[in-house]
Symmetry: C2
Subunit: 247 residues, 2 copies
């Protein structure tokens, strides 16, 4: 840390710092940093929120939660700024079936395999006691279970079932995208936004399912969205979590 | 059947009948009825669809699925006919968080206990072979599992977990309804419609959780909705499934 931040200058300035890890897993680092560099730093929010609910939309003090709800809220509040919801109510209904499906089905099977493969690395360096202490701070029972499984490994029958659902999901997307450029009508909508958030990267992480031979429609759709200027700007400005494959 | 329908008259008329059980569990009765009364009857749709996806909205030939999506579609198409979606986008977002929560959380825990308590009765008269034949016709793997568990009984740890979630759900509703007449703003919205569909009846089936002492807010809200003319008309015209408690 001292190589990138002038901590002596911070300490010398005599300022008091309030650190909010926003529910992130880095919550434990702050006290250690404060100790080591004798900073007057208080962790104002010690809660680890593994549901990521801290990622809300704050619109002039109005807090909107849930990514799908946030997407539609932006359409409601800024209807003329680059609309991503169709005008035709029937196409809107089709769009909502797709975004709902992401939230209820597609997201969960891909996420569980992601937790299995990647998230275990975040906690493998902890001792059992440290891990239990961390889990005790997780407020949602379902997430406690998920952290435990990420550390211990998920049961094989659960992994098999989630992989089956991923196969169903990929076929559903390909059925549509082999015939059409986007999921609803002929234009880019929130249906594509919400599905892309899960599907992009599957050509690497699930290459046995998403590849040029089996799912040319999905690959062309991913490329089409990745080429959009807003998508390029988003990736250029986003940081990746320091995750890696399970070893 | 012969006590309520003049089957000789039907047979005598020489008509040909196409029976569509609409995915319902009654699919097997039709062939037996046709045999017994020598009717020229063809089951045109032999699929048992335990996901109830056959209950769609048909709007001049446009088929809309998913009850939450149907509700918003009706608002989009008939914006001035007794609107049940707020005008304020922020209240709409709050409404969607509630309807989404029904679909992703509240509905499932109550439904699983309902399957455990009630649905087993629908299949207990079947032999093992008949039951397997029925399950083989169910197209959705998740529903096959649900039918098997309804017949055999659900695992106790799963029932315990669903009851825990029902407790969480009831507290969430009561937290809001002890302070407000409806779930969003001060008016009846789709948030109430979708939650009422699950919560109404819990004062009987889950009286240990939903009762005058513990959840006066929920009880008052249920009574307020049950008193609405549209709600009264709906119940007056609806038939109940022939279900009953597990014995």
């Amino acid at each position: 840390l001292i190589n990138v931040v002038d901590l002596d200058a911070i300490k010398g300035a005599g300022i008091r710092i309030g650190a909010d890890p926003l529910g992130g897993a880095s919550v434990d680092y702050w006290a250690a940093i404060a100790d080591r560099w004798s900073l007057e730093l208080t962790v104002v929010n010690p809660l680890v929120d593994a549901t990521w609910r801290f990622m809300t939309l704050d619109h002039d003090g109005k807090i909107v939660t849930e990514s799908t709800v946030i997407c539609e809220y932006l359409e409601d509040v800024f209807p003329d700024a680059n609309p991503l919801r169709p005008k035709d109510p029937y196409l809107v209904a089709e769009m909502r079936v797709w975004t709902k499906w992401v939230d209820e089905y597609f997201c969960w099977c891909v996420s569980t395999i992601g937790w299995h493969r990647m998230v275990g690395n975040l906690v493998k360096h902890l001792s059992d006691a440290e891990f239990e202490e961390m889990v005790a701070r997780v407020p949602i029972p379902e997430q406690k279970v998920k952290w435990r499984r990420a550390r211990e490994g998920f049961p094989q029958d659960l992994l098999d079932e989630e992989m089956r659902k991923i196969g169903v999901s990929v076929r559903r997307l390909e059925d549509r995208l082999s015939q059409h450029p986007y999921l609803v009508g002929d234009t880019f909508t929130l249906a594509d936004v919400c599905n892309f958030a899960i599907a992009n990267g599957m050509q690497f992480g699930f290459a046995e399912l998403v590849n040029e031979k089996d799912t040319p429609g999905i690959l062309a759709w991913l490329a089409r969205i990745n080429a959009r200027p807003a998508c390029q700007a988003m990736f250029a400005n986003s940081k990746k979590e320091n995750l890696g494959p399970r070893k």
